[in-house]
Symmetry: C2
Subunit: 399 residues, 2 copies
């Protein structure tokens, strides 16, 4: 009997998707399920992007350059990065199959098997999963929900460092916390990486979903870190085109970009229809971002208010992305999330949340936490959180 590899046997299954069969069963029995579990926004894509799909007029759909269409790379620099003050040369950007591929490339490029990557906990689960695929270990610096998941003092980073640490990887604005790092926090992280000769992999796919008064401060603007920073970015996420799967990797480090190109060649080319759509999306006016931001601020405010008024629930107020981590008065958030789908109904409706244990290296730390994605319109969001409140009242295993 053939047996599959240990690495894929041990690869963690997606926690976000583990509950899906229970949700499917609930729906099959006629229950309406409000999805607060996935970061799949319902905001309209810009018309210029949707029009670009309609305008695709090809004789056949051939490969593009492995690094992506030259006109897409050029337009991303001219129409987007210049505008937000990020300096990028044409040889310093490669188009990826979404931010996911960019993360995967960055891990391979910075770490050999047995090397380690440093994450700020709670972290985006797939950082761990993708590192695991390549035999890369994960160490963490802990943050605290009561302190809004802010970056702790540099001494915590020093403590987490080992001789095998090769990179610090951050998500800013953060998934799953929604935290946005200030310029000052970024400079602390940058100084730490400079001092210890680490790569700084900065995943900024939620950059345009930032609700602070100050503009988002990109790792690309850190002085003296030009050789260390690898920027993970997404086009599809930014314009509510998640399914187009278009992202990019940017770095001033020539060795990094040469490696990105080699990895890109091994998978031939990024999705071509998505690239044409992205070309169109780049013409979206500033109002598109402003309106999207306004909508998310309303949703965030609603989510935070509704959550914090539930007895025993606590969540900090996040400044970006469309997630928040909430602490619930339950002993096991995963059992509670499953119970919501299998047992609890309020007028034939229930709600789906993501148990947060998988965002922690030490699963016990996230045992009472869930990630809530505020990706529903305000009235639906209110209803969903009302259901959550009633469910917590009814839950038999409450603390």
């Amino acid at each position: 009997m053939v047996e599959i590899s240990s690495r894929t046997q041990q690869l963690p299954a997606s926690a976000i998707r583990k509950l899906v069969p229970f949700a499917d069963a609930a729906k099959a029995s006629g229950v309406k399920v409000y999805h607060l579990n996935v970061g799949a926004p319902d905001i309209k894509s810009p018309d210029c992007a949707l029009d670009a799909i309609k305008a695709i007029n090809l004789h056949h759909v051939s490969y593009t350059n492995s690094a992506g269409l030259i006109e897409l790379r050029r337009d991303m620099i001219e129409k987007y990065y210049k505008k937000i003050g990020i300096d990028v040369g044409i040889d310093e950007i490669v188009i990826n199959v979404a931010g996911s591929e960019s993360v995967e490339f960055a891990i391979q490029i910075t770490c050999d098997p047995g090397d380690e990557i440093l994450l700020i906990e709670p972290y985006y689960t797939n950082y761990y999963t993708l590192a695991f695929k390549y035999g890369v270990g994960v160490n963490v610096v802990r943050t605290n929900i009561r302190e809004g998941f802010r970056v702790p003092g540099i001494e915590e980073f020093e403590k987490a460092l080992t001789p095998r640490t090769k990179a610090l990887m951050i998500s800013n604005p953060g998934n799953p916390t929604g935290v946005v790092y200030s310029k000052q926090e970024m400079e602390i992280l940058g100084e730490f990486c400079r001092r210890h000769n680490l790569f700084l992999i900065s995943d900024e796919v939620y950059r345009e979903f930032c609700y602070t008064d100050e503009p988002h401060y990109s790792a690309m603007n850190l002085k003296g870190l030009e050789q260390n920073v690898i920027l993970v970015d997404s086009v599809s996420k930014r314009y509510n085109l998640c399914g187009c799967r278009i992202g990019c990797t940017i770095s001033h480090n020539k060795d990094v970009m040469a490696a990105v190109v080699k990895l890109a060649q091994a998978r031939l080319c990024p999705p071509v229809l998505g690239q044409y759509t992205a070309l169109g999306a780049l013409d979206a006016p500033q109002e598109y971002f402003d309106q999207t931001k306004e909508e998310y601020i309303a949703r965030r405010d609603c989510a935070i208010e509704c959550l914090n008024k539930i007895p025993g629930v606590f969540t900090p107020k996040p400044d970006g992305a469309f997630y928040t981590i909430a602490e619930l008065p339950v002993d096991d958030a995963e059992a509670f999330a499953k119970w919501l789908l299998t047992e609890f109904r309020l007028d034939g409706e229930t709600v789906m949340v993501t148990p947060a244990a998988s965002f922690y290296l030490d699963k016990s730390l996230g045992k009472r936490h869930v990630r809530v994605a505020y990706v529903l319109e305000v009235p639906k969001l209110k209803r969903a959180l009302h259901i959550l409140e009633k469910a917590l009242e009814a839950y038999p295993n409450k603390l």
Copy 2:
């Protein structure tokens, strides 16, 4: 100074793309370059696929299931696999970001770092590159150009086996050789895998580009190998939609499919616009394949005849795909290919071919070989091969 990982430093650069800068320079100076180097067909995509792009009417482009749209998986089974006699259950197929991702998944699933994969040489370069990424070694069974790259006796496979061998990976029809394995050859390979408990990864992305009288014999039809076979397939290649990046992995082995799903979840979802295009493509009539095949047979016949009449050139007659390996009367095919781009012009035109050394583990074996992709219309193909003939007459380092 930060340093990138050894694994990406040592990752081979794409041989197929290494000469691109020289081709670009030639074109920039006004020289016309005939591309016989990449397998990028110029055949029209089916109208039903191109119409499907135009019909995409979305409010926003959200994620699909990580395993791909359920209706795409269902239609692929109903409209394609059933028709060609391959039995697939809905849980036995996952949509990939093209055949490339399917190969990458199959390597991870069958091999741990330090394990080995067995290839038939000459092999598709990216098999080697993708195995290398995951710390997987490569062993080869040699075939011979004079014997049309047919599968050698089973004893050659036994000799190449080591205790770390976990899978045999084949390309059928073959890239770069164009060889198509008969049912009898497939049964020999299957028996070898069964006997030694190996996975058989069968890359059949060129299945519809098969010019034999007998129908293509899929590894999926091997009796007693149900748990061993992993099928790598492509939709985009089949319908001249290469840039859509839609492929799939198929297996009756539940552990394999569970691992495929986990790997698929870690990269969220396959390109959505490509999935809708693929849905449309599945309605292409049989005549579409017949016409495409007829065109390729004409090109192949032209390519083989033109090549073999050049003094000192030998190529076997391939039965599938759109490649052939040709032996040239030169001491170093890579130097010759570069010379074509940098030095040789016939009335302001030249030709680009792929040096074949990278398709061999022992580079010296492919030193006099090039891969010719017959992806041009017959008149252009004739002209390109005429240029090649004149170039070989003029080449100073001829054998």
